[in-house]
Amino acid sequence: MNIMAFFGRRDDSASVAKNRLKILLEHERGGNSSSDAKLISSLREDILAVVARHINIDPDAVHLEMDRTGDTTTLGIDIELPDTDIRKSA
């Protein structure tokens, strides 16, 4: 018997399972996944347009990710820039 079990502590796979389920179900219950997808798609287009005014970028190089966890929602924006010729000639 390990010491964790002896003290009856639950620092273990069951709590991982519980946390994963809570996050997942919060997302699945929301029922707003399709509106999220629309929002992300239009945000992506606008961000791409703004960045493209200044920098030559591949349209596929803009990645957006929305993450809902508990009470907070975060928006992650990841833009891959080309190695050379960063600035657009005026």
């Binding site: 964790m4 079990a5 009856g8 502590r9 639950r10 620092d11 273990d12 796979s13 069951a14 709590s15 399972a17 519980k18 994963r20 389920l21 809570k22 997942l24 179900l25 699945e28 219950r29």
Partner: protein, 273 residues
């Protein structure tokens, strides 16, 4: 109007114990003296007949009745031990689309005239068979194993109970009861298994019982007896009998009957959602 109660035993995921639970609870209700009918909705893959030991006496089935090829009374199979317990078997040969909404509605309405309790064994999945099994229910028993995929699927089923049933469409809220099966107290204590409180917390459904993992369940199915009839002293049978008492409205704390003689598991208070 009849005073019958229609219960659906459902889970989303397969193999969690819906049929075992249907047979055990229907038998426990019948033992209390109620007139009970267990209905198998798993068209194409019926098994409630086998678990209840009635497989050799099936003549007509639910699909025959829905299609008007047999009367309900012709299709009902009386239990070999309890004469107030009946089974309405599913068809083994047709596909799940053989059931129609109107057909099921009329079968359930007629059963309400003859029985106090109608216990519907839902097929796995979220398709026609499962939605029809829950459609005309008054209450639902949601069966979950303490395991991630089972809990997730139960959450989907709760969503369907709150949207696709007649109770929900009429603006009501279907009363739901959570039944946790195949529970292992020791593994939960070690943190290897989701604990009762975790599952109740995630699903927010009041707990009606916790059935421990027990070898008696397999033994009972081997001989075609619901576990509540094969061995009343078995921990699983005790758990089902207590769950049935709660279904009948008795306010008793949820215990987890243990394999060890005379020892009761940790006490859990049934938490209301």
């Amino acid at each position: 109007m009849s005073n019958a109660t229609v219960i659906v035993v459902t889970s989303g995921k397969g193999g969690v114990g819906k049929t075992t639970s249907t047979a055990a609870i229907a038998s426990a209700l019948a033992k209390q003296g109620y007139k009970v009918c267990a209905v198998d909705f798993d068209v194409g893959l019926r098994n409630l007949d086998l678990i209840m030991g009635a497989e050799r006496r099936v003549v007509f089935d639910l699909v025959n009745v829905v299609r008007g090829e047999a009367s309900i009374k012709q299709a009902l199979v009386r239990d070999k031990k309890l004469d107030n317990l009946y089974l309405l078997p599913a068809s083994q040969t047709r596909d799940k689309d053989a059931l129609t909404d109107e057909g099921v509605a009329s079968v359930i309405n007629e059963l309400r005239m003859y029985f106090d309790w109608i216990v519907c064994d839902s097929p796995a999945g979220i398709e026609r068979g499962a939605t029809l099994a829950m459609r005309y229910a008054d209450e639902a028993i949601i069966v979950s194993n303490p395991e991630v995929s089972s809990v997730r699927d139960c959450d989907r089923i709760i969503g369907l109970l709150d949207s696709k049933t007649v109770v929900a469409e009429d603006g009501g809220r279907m009363p739901k009861h959570l039944l946790i099966t195949r529970y292992d107290v020791e593994r939960a204590k070690l943190g290897d298994m989701l604990a009762v409180d975790d599952v109740v917390d995630i699903l927010s459904v009041p707990l009606i019982g916790v059935v421990p993992e027990s070898r008696d369940v397999l033994k009972a199915s081997n001989v075609g007896l619901p576990v509540t009839l094969s061995d009343e002293a078995s921990p699983a049978a005790k758990a089902y009998i207590e769950a049935t008492q709660r279904l009948l409205g008795e306010d008793i704390p949820v215990t987890i009957p243990s394999e060890k003689k005379g020892l009761l598991g940790k006490l859990f208070r049934g938490r209301a959602a």
